[in-house]
């Protein structure tokens, strides 16, 4: 737990006494959102910290750039705070936030950032497979990096569903909400994407055979 959550937690206990906290002792999302809706910046800071890791990773997977991903999640949290009235408190908060992140990341691709992103992906397609930025010494990390490159060859829709389901380990229902598509569409897109991915790996990523993903 980070300091911000601790601070909010203390405040909550002072104000409300023993409230309906989940088993892990964290303040429920719904309570944080309610407080944030009343202008409590500490509560929103706790929400930011609670979900900034999956948000950042989603944006990073979509955009392939840490600086852009950071910008996107900042925007997402600002916009989400300003549009808390659009949040249905009965539904989970995480996919709602991640959907905003996904939309902003898509928009970044569509808008000015497309030119930069296009060029980056262009260079990512050129052969430079020996240049692994992270985990050079780890076979598992090397395989994961190669897998990411293979996923990058799929259609945009295929990439998104693979990132959500297999990299971020989101459920089908969460993936549907994050991507704004029906659960049935998640299933069919996943099926198609995996078929394409397997073909890409067979043809272009022989190194992944050791990972039994050939």
């Amino acid at each position: 737990m980070d300091h911000s959550e601790e601070r909010v937690s203390e405040l909550t206990h002072q104000e409300h006494g023993a409230s309906h906290h989940p088993a892990d002792g964290r303040i429920p999302d719904s309570e944080l959102v309610a407080r944030a809706g009343r202008g409590d910046q500490n509560a929103w800071e706790a929400v930011v910290r609670r979900y900034q890791e999956p948000a950042f990773r989603l944006a990073y997977l979509f955009l392939g750039d840490a600086a852009e991903a950071e910008d996107i999640i900042q925007d997402a949290y600002v916009r989400a705070f300003l549009r808390l009235d659009a949040y249905d408190g009965e539904r989970p908060l995480r996919p709602w936030l991640l959907r905003i992140v996904a939309n902003l990341a898509r928009n970044r691709r569509r808008a000015l950032g497309r030119y930069l992103a296009a060029l980056r992906r262009l260079f990512a397609l050129t052969p430079r497979s020996v240049d692994v930025p992270y985990g050079r010494d780890s076979q598992a990390q090397w395989e994961a990096q190669r897998l990411r490159e293979a996923v990058g060859r799929l259609s945009r829709a295929g990439q998104e569903v693979v990132y959500c389901r297999y990299f971020l380990d989101l459920s089908e229902a969460e993936t549907a909400e994050v991507l704004g598509i029906a659960p049935g569409t998640v299933k069919s897109r996943t099926h198609r994407a995996l078929k394409q991915l397997r073909a890409v790996i067979e043809k272009e990523f022989p190194g992944l055979r050791a990972a039994r993903l050939e």
Binding site: Q41, A67, Y115, L125, T126, A144, F167, L194, L197
Partner: protein, 407 residues
């Protein structure tokens, strides 16, 4: 078959779980700062160094690189069989399969663009600000009637010209783009490799409708990935190229395209008569000493209170504000040598037609003249012709007046 259906996806998940992400940045403090400062419009010097500008700087580096690449003979040779609509080239051939030529420069190997160029880079602005920055008339859709003004406006220098991008967001879905309108004046911008392409017309001008996902080709690059997912209508009129991106069907996109009208609404007929301009009151304000009791300039009168007053034209007309003019604001006891950057903010709102609010945030600067003593000084520009209410705010003391801005 069983392995493919069950084991392979599971193995995929295991491999993906080892993916190493960059460290997650802690954005809580920055989010808090941005929320707290939403109402504040930072001065340009701050905007240029805002973290969000990083990508824009890189975009410029890319564009400058591309401008050079298109001059390379072997790259130019690959650029053929295209349909040119204004500044946009639409290629009718599939992309070549070969990877980029050896030696293709990378971002890292490119020399940094000139600082002078970077300082003028793409930045979010207002409609009025964008119009002031480009030398062609910006257009806005008048259809659908409830579309309203764009939520975001960007000005982006491109090789040999300028582009303005207007973004309308989905009102009920934060983050979703409803419509993006590009207005480009440049000799060459970008090419596309459409999945589906139809020729059509916008107000009699040749236009192209690109449907579904298509590949974006960047001015001379021989290979590019799938990047554009919306439907795009491209047409040109005069030397300006328009590009409308949305999820709308073609008929509706053409309707929007044909509805474009000049950004600066002309002042309505009889507008001056209907504009409640601030005229000399029956009992004009008289400033305290040592300020001159009567306005020292012909055709001007004092207006306001001792807490804040201005010098206004007796006719109610102030045409210079369409181009840019200084505004002097006085208050009793103000001394510019002691308070060089007074906390004065000025806002201008058009009363007779929709127009972006023009703001000049605090601080202002100062001025001194023996004729009128110390004054606070700010400036306004790019007010569209019409009826404007201008409000000054100095530490909670407000003063508003209405002027007619027209030639």
């Amino acid at each position: 078959m069983k392995e493919y259906e069950e084991v392979w996806p599971q193995r995929l998940k295991e491999v993906a779980s080892a993916f190493t992400y960059p460290p997650t940045p802690d954005v809580a403090a920055e989010v808090r700062r941005r929320l707290a400062g939403r109402a504040v419009h930072p001065p340009p010097a701050v905007m240029l160094w805002h973290p969000r500008m990083r990508w824009a700087w890189l975009v410029a580096a890319v564009l400058l690189t591309l401008a050079g690449l298109i001059l390379v003979p072997q790259v130019r040779a690959a650029v053929r069989d295209f349909l040119q609509i204004g500044a946009v080239r639409i290629f009718e051939q599939p992309l070549p399969e070969q990877p980029a030529a050896a030696g293709t420069p990378t971002l890292a190997s490119e020399p940094a663009p000139a600082r002078e160029t970077l300082l003028a880079l793409a930045a979010e602005t207002t409609l009025a600000g964008a119009q002031a920055d480009v030398d062609f008339a910006l257009l806005l859709p008048t259809h659908p009637a409830d579309l309203g003004r764009p939520d975001q406006v960007f000005v982006q220098p491109v090789p040999g010209g300028q582009a303005v991008i207007m973004i309308w967001l989905e009102p009920h879905s934060p983050g979703d783009v409803k419509l993006a309108l590009y207005q480009i004046r440049a000799p060459a911008y970008a090419g596309k490799y459409p999945a589906t392409m139809h020729e059509t017309a916008v107000n009699g001008h040749r236009a192209v409708w690109l449907e579904g996902g298509h590949l974006l080709h960047l001015a001379g690059m021989v290979q590019a990935p799938l990047v554009v997912e919306g439907n795009v209508l491209v047409w040109s009129a005069g030397d300006v190229t328009y590009r409308l991106e949305s999820a709308l069907p073609p008929v509706e996109a053409v309707r929007i395209a044909e509805s474009l009208a000049v950004l600066s609404e002309p002042a309505p007929d009889g507008g001056f008569e209907n504009c409640p301009v601030t005229l000399t009151p029956d009992s004009p304000f008289t400033p305290p000493e040592p300020y001159p009791p009567d306005n020292p300039y012909t055709g001007r009168f004092w207006y306001g209170t001792e807490a804040l007053w201005v010098s206004l034209p007796t006719t109610g007309g102030w045409p210079q504000l369409a181009y840019g003019d200084k505004l002097f604001w006085w208050r009793d006891g103000y001394n510019g040598s002691e308070e060089q950057r007074p906390e004065l903010a000025v806002t201008a709102r058009r009363l007779d037609a929709p127009a972006p609010v023009v703001k000049r945030g605090a601080p202002a600067t100062n001025a001194y003249h023996p004729d009128f003593h110390w004054a606070m000084l700010t400036g306004l520009s790019a007010l569209t012709p019409g009826c404007w209410e201008i409000t000054g705010d100095y530490q909670g003391h407000q003063l508003s007046f209405v002027v007619w801005v027209a030639p």
